[in-house]
């Protein structure tokens, strides 16, 4: 009975993976098409505005992934269910990938917009860099520990990173003063060109579907690895 249910579950998840993969490919194709053919140039950045569409989606999903990792870590420490550990590691890997994209595209954009590759006074980039290091450390920790200890210790690290991230955000806001110029709103506070906003939203949807698909596959891989170890 349990075996039949497990097979039904596997088929359901296979189907979900295929659907997400298809949706992610379609959304990426649509977003790419829109960005390069329909989205307008920006007054200051002109055609280089297109870096924004890669950067904003990656940054937003990186923070979503950080939040998933931290939440899954708390749930693991509370319930000691390995599924939460699988979700945590899947989200942590994606957060590192997305943060890397955020940092690289953010530097390129900053160079074009403000003529600097890196500025410690930017609270968002600084926080992203801090969290990138924390989660690279998280993945390194998982490489050098085993079994339940790996799940527990990495969960503790992920939880300890929460106040560090919050405090770093406040520290940078308090002590550093420069911010890059606004793009999604104009200096007078009005919304940017609807074409730009639409392109940003399309890229966000594409990123969300790609990350959703990737996380589902990764969680299933981790669960399969655990099941193999238990045999």
């Amino acid at each position: 009975m349990a075996g039949a249910m497990s097979e039904r579950n596997d088929r359901r998840l296979d189907r979900a993976e295929r659907v997400l993969a298809g949706a992610a490919l379609a959304a990426t194709a649509i977003a790419t098409f829109w960005v390069f053919t329909r989205s307008p140039d920006e007054a200051t950045l002109r055609e280089t505005i297109r870096i924004l569409y890669v950067h904003v989606g990656a940054a937003f999903m990186a923070y979503v992934a950080y939040g998933i990792t931290a939440t899954a870590a708390i749930l693991y420490l509370w319930r000691r269910n390995r599924r939460f550990d699988h979700v945590a590691v899947a989200a942590a890997e994606w957060s590192v990938v997305l943060s890397s994209i955020t940092l690289i595209t953010g530097s390129i954009w900053a160079k074009v917009a403000s003529n600097w590759w890196w500025q410690w006074s930017d609270p968002r980039l600084t926080l992203t860099l801090l969290l990138w290091f924390v989660y690279v450390g998280y993945l390194l920790l998982r490489q050098v520990t085993d079994g339940d200890r790996r799940a527990t210790l990495s969960a503790v690290l992920a939880v300890a990173a929460i106040p560090a991230g919050i405090l770093n955000h406040f520290a940078t806001l308090l002590f550093r003063t420069e911010h890059p110029p606004p793009i999604l709103t104009r200096p007078d506070g009005a919304a940017a060109d609807p074409g730009i906003v639409r392109a940003v939203l399309l890229s966000l949807v594409a990123y969300a579907l790609i990350v959703g698909w990737g996380m589902l596959a990764r969680v299933r891989l981790e669960a399969a690895r655990d099941a193999l170890d238990e045999r």
Partner: protein, 464 residues
């Protein structure tokens, strides 16, 4: 009259990676019985002992104690679990206090005598031979008259005399209702003293009656009557309160460091060297050395302090002293606070030594010493809190020396930002109101990470 089991294990299973070492172990240990556990190398004897001691959570199965009440359990593993820089009597007094024995000094002296170490009360443990350390570890285990004593190959390092003393202690413990389970190689001496012989093979347990006694009886036998049972010392169940436990741990660490002088001098020199190298490097690109002094000060403190922190935590893990601490019932939060207090004290000492050096290296004013030290006093507690927690996380990982700074430094970034800002302001003579936001952030960091560490360190300790 049927005898209630003192400890019951059901369906215990555990694996390491893909290697299943225990596979469905059922075991009842009775009060007053002596059981020997045989098995080949790698058969899971140590794993089973640690699970029964509560030091390792089995992946499947349960361990229950008589009537559900907490038992006093003692465990002596293959590492003695002693503090090298403390003397024999100091090691025992520390653990007697942690076990809340009424007369810790007397109990420690009696335990030393019972294991033939009474003539060496003041000798530092690191100067003892392996066999003498084993005797000391056994003395600590039997000192509190625990309900259950688990010994992992205890006779291995002992000579004939030591083996005889251990025999007497086991017999006396069983005579007063204690349960003894020890792992041993299959030899006649081990079998000869056992009520029951267990053999662990292929993850399963086989039981056979030992030549000692085949029928359990409430009346003591002739063999056990000729050994005087020691009076059970008045020991509390459960651990010490958090403040007292933390104080004992901090005191132990400070005493160890003052005796051994292993960390402070080396770390002080290392931090000074960091400052020298930074001052030399910066002097090539800027004449304004006072401007970079705050950042250099905190980099040197963090680098030096982190090296020391790793050693402080490793000292508990490497010799397995941590297992002995856990069995005292010491709260994990108390252990965290004790380590935190010691780490804070050591690093503040280094900070005070560095401050006048910075005046010379970075062309500061003599009065700046106070500013440097004052801001260090505000920031070091937060560093110590995050550091102790992360050092605990990395202590049992491979490559822990490199892993510790990789995990710790990103968490310290907000503290470093605020500390450098506050230090720079102090050196520039800024009024206190200007330093308010930085000091407030440092204080918030200190409090938050002390709370986070106090809450999470017990989880880390349990998984060690």
């Amino acid at each position: 009259m049927p005898i209630e089991p003192a400890c019951t294990a059901r369906d215990i299973a555990h694996r390491f990676g893909r290697v299943r070492v225990l596979d469905g172990i059922d075991l009842d240990l009775l009060s007053g019985e002596c059981v020997v556990l045989h098995g080949a190398n790698g058969s899971g004897k140590t794993t089973l002992l640690r699970i029964l001691a509560g030091l390792l959570h089995p992946q499947r199965g349960t361990v229950a104690h008589a009537n559900g009440r907490p038992m006093r359990v003692a465990f002596v593993g293959q590492a003695p679990g002693l503090y090298a820089e403390l003397s024999t009597i100091e090691n025992l007094v520390l653990f007697a206090r942690l076990h809340r024995l009424a007369e810790p000094g007397d109990a420690a002296a009696e335990a030393l005598d019972a294991f033939g170490l009474a003539h060496r009360p003041g000798m530092r443990t690191r100067t003892l031979s392996r066999g003498q350390q084993q005797r000391l570890a056994l003395a600590r285990a039997f000192m509190t008259a625990p309900d259950m004593i688990l010994l992992d190959e205890p006779f291995t390092a002992l000579d004939t005399s030591g083996g005889g003393l251990l025999d007497r202690a086991i017999t006396a413990a069983c005579a007063t209702g204690g349960t003894v389970l020890f792992a041993a190689h299959d030899d006649g001496r081990a079998r000869g003293r056992a009520d029951r012989v267990l053999t662990l093979a292929d993850g399963r347990l086989r039981s056979a009656a030992g030549p000692g006694r085949t029928v359990r009886s409430q009346e003591p036998t002739a063999e056990r009557n000729d050994v005087a049972a020691p009076p059970r010392p008045a020991a509390g169940r459960g651990g010490l309160g958090v403040p007292r436990g933390a104080w004992l741990i901090a005191q132990k660490d400070v005493r160890t460091e003052l005796r051994g002088r292993e960390l402070l001098p080396a770390l002080g020199v290392f931090a000074a060297l960091c400052g020298t190298v930074l001052a030399y490097a910066f002097s090539d690109v800027t004449p304004d050395l006072p401007r970079v002094a705050p950042g250099a000060y905190w980099v040197a403190l963090l680098f030096g302090g982190t090296l020391g922190l790793g050693r402080m935590i490793a000292a508990e893990v490497d010799g397995d002293a941590l297992s002995a601490l856990r069995l005292t019932g010491l709260d994990g939060g108390a252990l965290f606070l004790g380590k935190w207090a010691a780490a804070t004290a050591f690093t503040l000492a280094i900070a005070c030594v560095l401050a006048p050096l910075w005046v010379a290296l970075f062309a500061l004013r003599p009065g700046d010493v106070l500013g440097l030290a004052a801001v260090a006093a505000a920031g070091v507690p937060g560093w110590a809190a995050a550091g102790v927690l992360v050092a605990g996380i990395s202590a049992t990982a491979r490559g822990r020396e490199v892993l510790l700074p990789i995990l710790l430094f990103p968490l310290l970034l907000p503290l470093v930002l605020a500390a450098v800002r506050a230090t720079g302001g102090a050196l520039a003579g800024a009024p206190l109101t200007d330093l308010g936001p930085a000091l407030a952030l440092m204080a918030a960091y200190d409090v938050i990470f002390c709370v986070v560490g106090f809450w999470l360190f017990p989880v880390v300790v349990e998984s060690t």
